[in-house]
Amino acid sequence: MSNKYRVVIVGAGIVGSSIARVLSMYENFDITLVEKEPDVGWGASKANTSIIHPGHEEEPDVHPLRAKLCVRGNEMWRTWAKELEIPVTFPGELMVFTNDEEEKRAREYIKLARLNNVPGVKIVYQEELRVLEPNIAREAKGAVYAPTAGLISPFEAVIAVVENAVENGVKLVTETEVLEVKVSEGRVKGVKTSKGFIEADIIINAAGLYSDKITHSAGVELNFQVKPRKGEYLLFDEDIPVKPTRILHTTPTPITKGVYAITTVHGNVLIGPTAEDLPIEAKEDTSTSVKGLNYVYLEASKLLREMPPRSRVIKIFAGLRPEPPGGHWLIKAYSDPWGFVNAAGIRSPGFTSAPAIAEYVANLISETFDIKLIKKSKWNPYRRDITRLNNRPLSEIDELIKKNPAYGEIVCYCKTVSKAEILEAIDRMIKIGIKTITLDGLKFRTYAGFGMCQGPFCRWRIARIVSEKLGIPLYDVTVKKTKYGIGDVKILWVERKGDLSENTRI
């Protein structure tokens, strides 16, 4: 019997998944990744600005960990994105200032860049600015240019990291909420979940918004509180004429990194976020507001020379960021209770830093719990992306179809997504251990439903494929949290048994 340490990671967001991937490199661990939602990355990881930050916005004396791990994470994503075939671009970022006061604040970031060893950060004015970004707003005076900034597809990143982690032995359990951490005789014993008790020697708290609840349950850091900070976004369709070529953002204020205008890796213009601190109980409030969206639109007009009209909005959404006290990440391993690890309150630059946080946590575990990490001889760093039809030359499309005719059936017109891709996505979801196939999960994996029409054309088509593949009635297909229909078209009559409908005049 091997003496592997049984590890439970609470939360399959980008932090938890990255820790799972890194720990899976070592012989020492038997890892279970526990996620309360039906799919991975449905918390803060899915609704953020998709940025891989350079690290020049972190003050090393106030937030040394954030500064160090952000720069390291920026480096690591370049490798991870290649290994895991995650869509990523590195267009560089322009922190735009429009007056002297903003310029003074912006210049501070050049100092920070030097302190944090962020390469290439410099001030650009007028001509150079316009060469770097032809679509910059006319009012822009200058900008702080950080060439190492990147953009990633955040939901695809989490999925890719998890697929690779599972490939390397990690077990994923979804729809399983950790309710309590069991501690006994100064050691962690396991977690009590909504689906039963899972034994563990090491428990890693990566529960994002709820990481305060988990650490309290383990009896440590009882003053630690995670507050939800809401960010609202507007997403525009890909065919608008004026799109930023680089990451543009307004000069940050003490609370937020500023409002961004970016062209996502998929070609859509995304503007946002707001930064609204919500009461601690509002951890489920991802509602958008007219006020928030108007603010975002107004701020973004300082960045682009021509804003897309509001009629070209294809999606309005909001995400909640986990904001820890003082903005300090809580990354620590404990000898009492032995085996408990916090990777809690990972606010911005959390996504960027995730691979580096994972590395850091692995070292913490090794040092604190006195475990000599043994690298696996056979660890597979590679994960292939879903074979997609779109953006391929016709000859390649023809070849794909000849091998598998399901590539020849297009189900999403806006994004040219084929039945084969939907089927592959379903298979991948089943393979990593997802219990309930959701249309949302398929959307994030295949892009079907992400286009201009936002789903009405294709949703029923995709649902039919799921219904057929899983052998369940069409109305039982899950959209996100609930089912597509309440039953067949006559269900209300069958249930009613003879009462007259209230909708009648006679």
């Binding site: 489920e284 029923w460 309440i486």
Partner: protein, 419 residues
Amino acid sequence: MKTLEYDTVVIGGGPAGIAAAIKATELGLKTILIENRDLLGGIPLQCIHTGFGLHYFKEDLTGTQFLTRLLDKLEKLRVEYLLNAHVHSIEYLDYDKKLVNIITPQGVVRILTKTIIYTTGARERHLYEIGVVGDRPDGIYTAGEAQTLMDIYGIMPGKEVVIIGSGDVGLIMARRFALEGAKVKAVIEILPYPGGLMRNVMQCLRDYDIPLLLSHTIVKVVGKKRVEKVVVVKVDENLKPIQGTEFEIPCDTVILSVGLRPYLKVLEKLGIHIDPATGGPMVNEYLETNIPGVFVAGNALVINDLVDYAVEQGELAAEGAKVFIENKGIPTKNWKLVEKGRNIRLVVPHIVSGERDVVIYARVANPEKNVYIQIPELGFKLFSYGVRPAEMIWLKLRKDMFSKLGADVHKITLEVIPR
């Protein structure tokens, strides 16, 4: 990859496309109809209500019955068609040479064609386009999606319904939900008048005691997992929300019937000129776009309220294709612009020749009673008891009317004047 040669490729097998393919075949053009789904028919397949064929067959048929008549004609004429075929792209090589690249389960098929008739229909506008904020729960469907679910696949979407938009599709779905036992709480309409036909307000809402809230709009949707309620507000004459008039309607289903837009994805890449009033292409009286030999008909051209118009446009486009091929291009030298006069919101076609009979389709901006629809340059005047934005105006201008046009006049103005 297979390459085939045709005179005409019709893209989209709904009523406009089927009619275009039939007419083109009848006119002796080597024609093929391309359809993405595994069956022909388009939207009328799911329209189980009547109101189809009043002009075309002089009968009041259900959408399904109307389609069957067309499809029988199509089969009888042995019109060629390809199912499960999705147009990936169109390459313009020359005025009479276009390459249509099609993805099918048998591989990529490339068709070299002289003309294209584009009849892909429209898409439905969604929640975010109309600026609705709030949560993003399950339970939100467009009216067309709900209709596909109920009347093709036999699924019940929900049981307590609020419908946004009082266009005909929304009204029809209100009745469908009510008949299948759901409770339809309200139909919300931002304008001070209903978007659909009054007959539908009667037989879909009044008959079932479904409240029609005019001059109201939805502010936000609330719900954790599934819709729990909507927040609705009254609007003023500028369609702006009136503070303090918000109220909630509990429901589990929101149906969006907030408008259609021509779906032109593949054509947009060819540099087609769009009329912002219709959302569709600018066309001449042959329904040809600015791209030579590319014709558009049906809802992809302009949103039609009657299928009969879509079918007529399909046939007109086929006739246009024939003229195009015979004359190596549309032979007209002197086009006359069709201008929008008083109370005209949109008009199709955008230019006419005056050399033959032409059909004009138009919509007014505001409802009016007892008006004259006129074209002063032609001395054309038609009385109408009432015009409404929801009802398309159909006019046939005969060739001889154009003789009244002065030699130096290069436009005609369509306008609506009170009596």
